[in-house]
């Protein structure tokens, strides 16, 4: 569904194509089709679809991907603000706020 695009020009995803070895893991793990293989190298074809989950970064052996990862969850951001910490959702904890 193409209406699953959130705000434009906010994703922190950065891709360094010169480091890319063309293994294709980023294409394999991205749930929103942000990457495509073009001429045996990965390429960011739809940055606005990035939800900053970090799957690509964690699975890139070449360290070619940078993204500030986190949960896109307002309740988590409020939690983080109250506890003065990074945004975390309460799933699994005593508070019942989040995403299942």
């Amino acid at each position: 569904m193409d209406n699953q695009v959130y705000l434009k020009n906010v994703a922190t995803l950065q891709f360094n194509v010169s480091k890319c070895t063309g293994c294709g893991m980023c294409v394999e793990v991205c749930p929103h089709g942000v990457f495509k293989m073009i001429d045996k190298k990965a390429s960011v074809t739809n940055c606005d679809k990035c939800m900053e989950c970090g799957a690509c970064k964690l699975n890139c052996q070449a360290n070619a991907i940078m993204v500030k990862t986190g949960v896109g969850c307002a309740a988590a951001i409020i939690n983080g603000f109250i506890n003065k910490s990074e945004p975390t959702c309460g799933c699994g904890g005593p508070k019942d706020v989040c995403c299942n």
């Binding site: 569904m1 209406n3 699953q4 695009v5 959130y6 705000l7 434009k8 906010v10 994703a11 922190t12 893991m25 394999e28 793990v29 991205c30 749930p31 929103h32 089709g33 679809k49 990035c50 939800m51 900053e52 989950c53 970090g54 799957a55 964690l58 699975n59 052996q61 500030k68 990862t69 986190g70 949960v71 896109g72 969850c73 307002a74 309740a75 988590a76 951001i77 945004p87 975390t88 959702c89 799933c91 699994g92 904890g93 019942d96 706020v97 989040c98 995403c99 299942n100």
Partner: protein
């Protein structure tokens, strides 16, 4: 010797079936209604489904019982091992975001269950949505096991196996279709129920105030009207916005929530429920805009495509507006007690 020891090991590995019992269905309904959702667990470790042998596939799952149940249901007819990680009862995707469904825990369970000596191949099928927590090359480095990220949905596993571990765009993409969103509404409603009832009580109590003291009659009349407006805001934010998400204008969820409640209030005007647009209903409209957009904003956490940067941007813009709308709305509601427009 090795066959005897593996037989001994086998007898200790719990067996599970692909079939759901009544209690599995009831449990699913219960957690979908947000009742006891944080304590619906299975014990971490290795399970055998059917009669797996040393060449059978190993599927990795979370110890949220619903995740585990959906996996085993979709493996009907397959003999396989299921390796359950300790994710503190959280589903795969959320747990991957918190690293409880993660590289370290996967390595720990591989070692703890002595998986190396139980199976001859070195293949683990990990749900693709576990990838934010699991680094395939680090697992390989530490254990020798090859992580293959399977499809997003367990229902696509058989297609994935039939295609010799290859996925097309459909198998790797996350959806957020109408059914997915409708399933989430009960949790949205339940999450804010207490706050909604407290706010309603406050405004109902406020309704009794008149320029000539406190009146029980006015409380009944204006209080019920106030409750309908607040209920409309609650439903707009927690149910209508999730349901109609792709069709509501604006990309920000808070904006969508404002549109949803505005449509309901237009309905109140057109139907004659709100007789004229006076100070009191105007005040409640502003308050409802704030409530609905706040609840809609909270739905970002349940959605499958919002980013941290995006939600922060949205909140920076909308939270001050929500506070201002609530303040002005409250002032209008109070002023309407003393000035008739």
């Amino acid at each position: 010797m090795s066959s005897m020891s593996s037989n001994l090991t086998l007898s200790r590995i719990p067996e599970v079936s692909a079939d759901w019992q009544l209690k599995d269905y009831l449990g699913t309904i219960r957690v979908r209604s947000s009742i006891g959702r944080n304590s619906y667990l299975v014990k971490p470790g290795l399970y055998q489904l059917g009669s797996p042998d040393s060449s059978s596939e190993v599927f990795v799952s979370a110890n949220y019982k619903l995740s585990f149940d959906i996996l085993r249901k979709n493996l009907a007819g397959i003999n396989a091992w299921i390796l359950v990680l300790d994710t503190k009862g959280v589903n795969v995707w959320c747990a991957a975001g918190k690293d409880t469904f993660g590289t370290d825990e996967l390595i720990r369970q591989i070692n703890l269950t002595d998986l190396k000596n139980l199976i001859t191949h070195r293949r683990l099928i990990v749900p693709q949505l576990g990838a934010p927590g699991v680094s395939a090359h680090l697992v390989k480095l530490s254990t020798g096991f090859n992580v293959r990220f399977g499809p997003v949905r367990a229902s696509d596993i058989k297609e994935y196996l039939a295609n010799s571990y290859k996925k097309d765009d459909k198998l790797r993409s996350v959806n957020f279709n109408l059914k997915d969103r409708l399933l989430l509404i009960p949790v949205e409603i339940m999450n804010s129920l207490k706050q909604f009832l407290l706010i309603s009580l406050f405004f109902i109590a406020l309704s009794g105030i008149t320029s000539s003291g406190y009146s029980f009659q006015t409380l009944l009349k204006q209080g019920s009207e106030a409750f309908i407006y607040l209920l409309a805001a609650y439903i707009s934010g927690a149910a209508l916005t999730p349901a109609f998400l792709p069709w509501l204008p604006f990309r920000s969820f808070a904006g969508k929530g404002m549109v949803a409640t505005t449509i309901v209030f237009i309905g109140f005007l057109v139907s004659g429920f709100t007789e004229q647009f006076l100070l009191l209903p105007l005040g409640y409209y502003l308050i409802s805009l704030a409530i609905s957009s706040f609840l809609a904003m909270n739905f970002t956490g349940a959605s499958t495509y919002t980013s941290l940067s995006g939600v922060k941007k949205e909140m920076n813009f909308f939270v001050p507006i929500q506070i201002a709308l609530t303040t002005i709305g409250l002032i209008l509601v109070i002023v309407s007690k003393f000035i008739y427009f």
